[in-house]
Amino acid sequence: MTTTIEPDTTPAVSFDADPASYKHWKLDVQGEVAYLRLDIDEDGGIVPGYELKMNSYDLGVDIELYDATQRLRFEYPGVHAVVLTSAKDRNFCAGANIRMLAQSSHPWKVNFCKFTNETRNGIEDASAHSGQVYIAAVNGTAAGGGYEMALACEEILLIDDNSSAVSLPEVPLLGVLPGTGGLTRVVDKRRVRKDRADVFATKSEGARGKQAVEWKLVDEVIPKRNWDETVAERAATAAARSNRPSNDSGATGIALTPLQREETADGITYEHVKATFDRGQGLVEITVFGPEGDVPDTVDRVHELGADFWPLAMTRQLDDLILRLRANELELGTWVIRTEGDVEDALAFEKVIEDFSGSDWLVNEIRHYFKRTLKRLDVTSRSLIALIEPGSCFAGALLELALACDRQYMLDGLMEDNDEEGAPAQIVLSASNFGTFPMSNGLSRLGSRFWGGPDDDGAAMAKLRQETSRRIEAAEAAELGLVTEAFDDIDWEDDIRIMLEERASLSPDALTGMEANHRFVGPETMESRIFSRLTAWQNWIFVRPNASGPEGALRRYGTGRKAEFDRKRV
């Protein structure tokens, strides 16, 4: 019998990966098409206690997948299509490893699912915005998370060998959901009729051959003898549609060099991002440092700087920090977010992004990467509090950090006791705040903040647009509704302290639920539904005895004993 790992004995997770040391993936670039082959090392689990049989995955496998998808976007401008397939015979992927799930603590399961979901969303983002179309070449059985990985691709090709099937066996076999987008994408993306989806998701053997095509679970079944050529053809066709630079254009990728960071017991420091832990208060103070001059005046200079170009470097560091804090610092329940730097410089860098993201593939990638990183913040189950103080640079794209927070506090005037002369805190709106970095609900953060319902005439947003490009100080920011409170120096310290302490005293579960409800208003998209509906239900099911109790389906799987359910429908 496996036992549940206590969170504090779980080793810290690192999200660093490098193709040279991948344990589970083979990246094979052939001109405009890259093959990403899953070849899981059974003994390469990220924590001990299980074997990754049948190409089943754990968090470590997904960390490498995330790394590969990022490198394909930044290091391979010439790759126009990505074939996601398996290096194992007759076995595409069996999904998340069950023994791993059974032995994991609840927070570990939830974090794992969140991260894998974000990676699947990132794959769809690459197909949609990078001209790097993902095709699933399902050359063996794809079960559960394996099929969900395929669902994240634009096309699903299934080998027709009379045995390989696609399936979502979580409900019948494990008593949980296909929580990595499976249920959602089947009906939302592939438009499988809901009654068929119901049959499919309760039938452990899944579907294969013609039925799989007829039910729209896959796009095409291909006989084994034509498999490789047909997959190559489909990839070439997809690649031809891409707007990425052609291979003979001379475009070269930039190297995503290893992240430099200094870790101590009390924090993590990167060049542009710093996190200081306050374990007593249960919070982490995050500071994002703005750029310091040296604005590239040409797009060539951006390429030359590559991973050192401030927006990219900062985004990578912030992304890494978010992932580490989410996985490793469960008890730091409040993230206090500040920026520090020059407003003009921040706006100048942002202008580079604005000017070139339509025409330059790299700048476009940086824009979408920052967008995805902000989305990570949106679905982070921590209280996010922005403190806007003198010397900060919440301008344009960086203002999105504050807008992603649950509350924004702005210092009105200067701290009197501070000897330094300076300008009071200010924020600046720019075009970036009006749709460059949409949330998963399809709205900008400002659009979500001032959501006026489906019949909104857009007047409020039009009014805000008139406020762009000028410096807005605290009192006005409060009046415009851009910050929660504008405290002056006399109130600042006490009010912020009390607010943070009060926050820390509330139920962490209730806060997570409350924040997730407030952050997403208005329309739903497939992406928002995956987080708001699928994973929310999944996380409920995870804590129920029917799944994770000693007699629950997840714990009994593979023991030869049948799960015993509490039959009450709740």
Binding site: D494, I498, E502, A504
Partner: protein
């Protein structure tokens, strides 16, 4: 701006060095003075012989002089800090007390302070017109003393809100002046503080019974783990004892006069002779005691339990109690009516804290009764005054559903209706009491219905001109 803060607002909280407090109080003070002018004592005076606290030491807290009331120096005083003080009860027992508001308890502490603060100006408003019918200058002066001290107690609560609760605290301080006793749109928080104090007998009863509830509430807050609140309440308790004194001696003197007239005319029907009959005094006791009991809230209270466990509000003389001060394992008995019979239930002690405090209060109330009965005894009268049963005339808690006589019999609504005029002041009683309320402003003179005090204020004689009219 150079204001001598220690002169204008006597304090021991370093007001001169605290910019935050200065700003808060500067904007609040004009509103307070405006409130005092419109809602404070209605009788115009030039000056009044008042006690002003100018320091917390033995010498400083009782400084006497004639002062114009609007120039009264409402100060901010906390009892001296004990740097070793530890939390005496609840889950955090034994840990150092808090010098700042822990965010976790902000809402609860703010609520407790606001409720306490709301009662202070309320009584000033209730007593606003009493000065017009004062039975002597000595009594008029005592009324004003009580009024300015209630004002100072408001200041004390406002200080806490300003100094420790940020912007939210300032808003609450403002609201303390915006609610008014009896105001239809914006009344005081507690019901008892929305009734006008119509006559001086009611005033003495109020200061004896209702201010005594305040004393006990302050006593529980004095135990608080939030040290500034504790120290504030400790100092307020000193002043509160003067209010008790006004009540105790006030009723004492009414009883003394009633006894004199009863003997003189050999009848308890002393109304026609300008006195207040003992029977009416008893009815006033019945009324004021029972509505004051309601201020303790429900016998079983999860709020009180939470406050105790968190360390926000203790029991009366917590540190002298001989138990574990955590009370998770203890039980207590509460009184109630079941199947028409008075009985007791055993409940978790934590849930019965309101009842515990009320029990302490009742014992304290008995002392006054003994004193007044001694007056009757010395006068050779057989009648005795008494406290009615705790279930009598209750509007809050377990007894509010039942009718219980002053002697403690459970009766039906018909009996209650038939007899209640024997137990509670009737319109005729009140009309008679009001008819006696004629001002006596001549130094050394006193109204017919009350005996003069045995001594004056601060060793001054009764004839002293305590109040100068304008």
């Amino acid at each position: 701006m150079s204001i001598d803060y220690s002169e204008k607002i006597p304090n021991n909280v370093d007001l001169a060095g605290d910019r935050k407090l200065q700003r808060a109080l500067e904007s609040w003070q004009p509103n307070f003075l405006n409130w005092w002018k419109t809602m404070g004592p209605a009788v115009p005076t030039e000056d009044v012989y008042l006690r002003t606290a100018v320091a917390v030491g033995r010498e400083g807290w009782a400084h006497f002089d004639h002062v114009a009331m609007e120039e009264y120096r409402w100060g901010v005083f906390l009892a001296e800090r004990n740097t070793d003080r530890k939390i005496a009860f609840g889950e955090q027992k034994g840990q150092p007390v808090w010098q700042q508001v822990p965010g976790e308890y902000r809402a609860d502490l703010q609520r407790l302070i606001v409720i306490q603060g709301d009662t202070e100006p309320a009584s000033v408003e209730q007593q606003r017109r009493l000065g017009e019918t004062a039975p002597s200058l000595y009594d008029l002066r005592n009324l004003f003393q009580v009024n300015v001290e209630e004002g100072r107690h408001l200041w004390a609560m406002v200080y806490l809100l300003h100094a420790f609760f940020g912007r939210g605290g300032r808003d609450e301080a403002e609201a303390l002046l915006q609610r008014n006793s009896g105001d239809l749109d914006s009344p005081r928080i507690l019901g008892a503080f929305n009734e006008e104090t119509p006559d001086w007998l009611s005033f003495f009863m109020f200061t004896y019974f209702t201010d005594r509830d305040g004393k006990y509430q302050l006593g529980t807050l004095k135990e608080s783990a939030f040290d500034p609140l504790s120290r504030t309440c400790e100092f307020m308790l000193k002043e509160e004892s003067h209010h008790m004194f006004v009540g105790t001696t006030g009723v004492d003197r009414v009883v003394t006069r009633a006894a004199e007239l009863t003997r003189q005319y050999d009848t308890e029907e002393i109304g026609p002779h300008g006195g207040i009959p003992l029977d009416v005094i008893q009815k006033y006791i019945n009324f004021h005691y029972s509505v004051s009991l309601d201020l303790f809230g429900s016998e079983q209270s999860t709020n009180a339990a939470n406050y105790f466990t968190a360390g926000l509000k203790g029991r009366w003389q917590e540190e002298r109690r001989k138990d574990d001060h955590v009370l998770t394992e203890n039980s207590a008995k509460i009184d109630l009516v079941r199947d028409g019979v008075l009985t007791q239930d055993e409940v978790p002690a934590l849930l019965a804290l309101n009842s515990d405090l009320r029990t302490e209060y009742i014992a304290d109330c008995e002392n006054g009764l003994k004193r007044w009965n001694r007056v009757l005894e010395n006068a050779g009268l057989d009648r005795r005054l008494y406290l009615p049963h705790l279930g009598f005339n209750r509007g809050v808690g377990l007894f509010s559903e039942h009718h219980i006589t002053p002697k403690g019999d459970v009766v039906g609504p018909d009996v209650w209706e038939a007899k209640k005029d024997c137990w509670l002041p009737t319109e005729a009683d009140k009309t008679h009491v009001r008819s006696l309320m004629k001002p006596v402003y001549e130094p050394g003179k006193i109204a017919s219905w009350i005996a003069p005090p045995t001594k004056g204020i601060n060793d001054k004689p009764f004839e002293y001109e305590y109040v100068h009219f304008s």
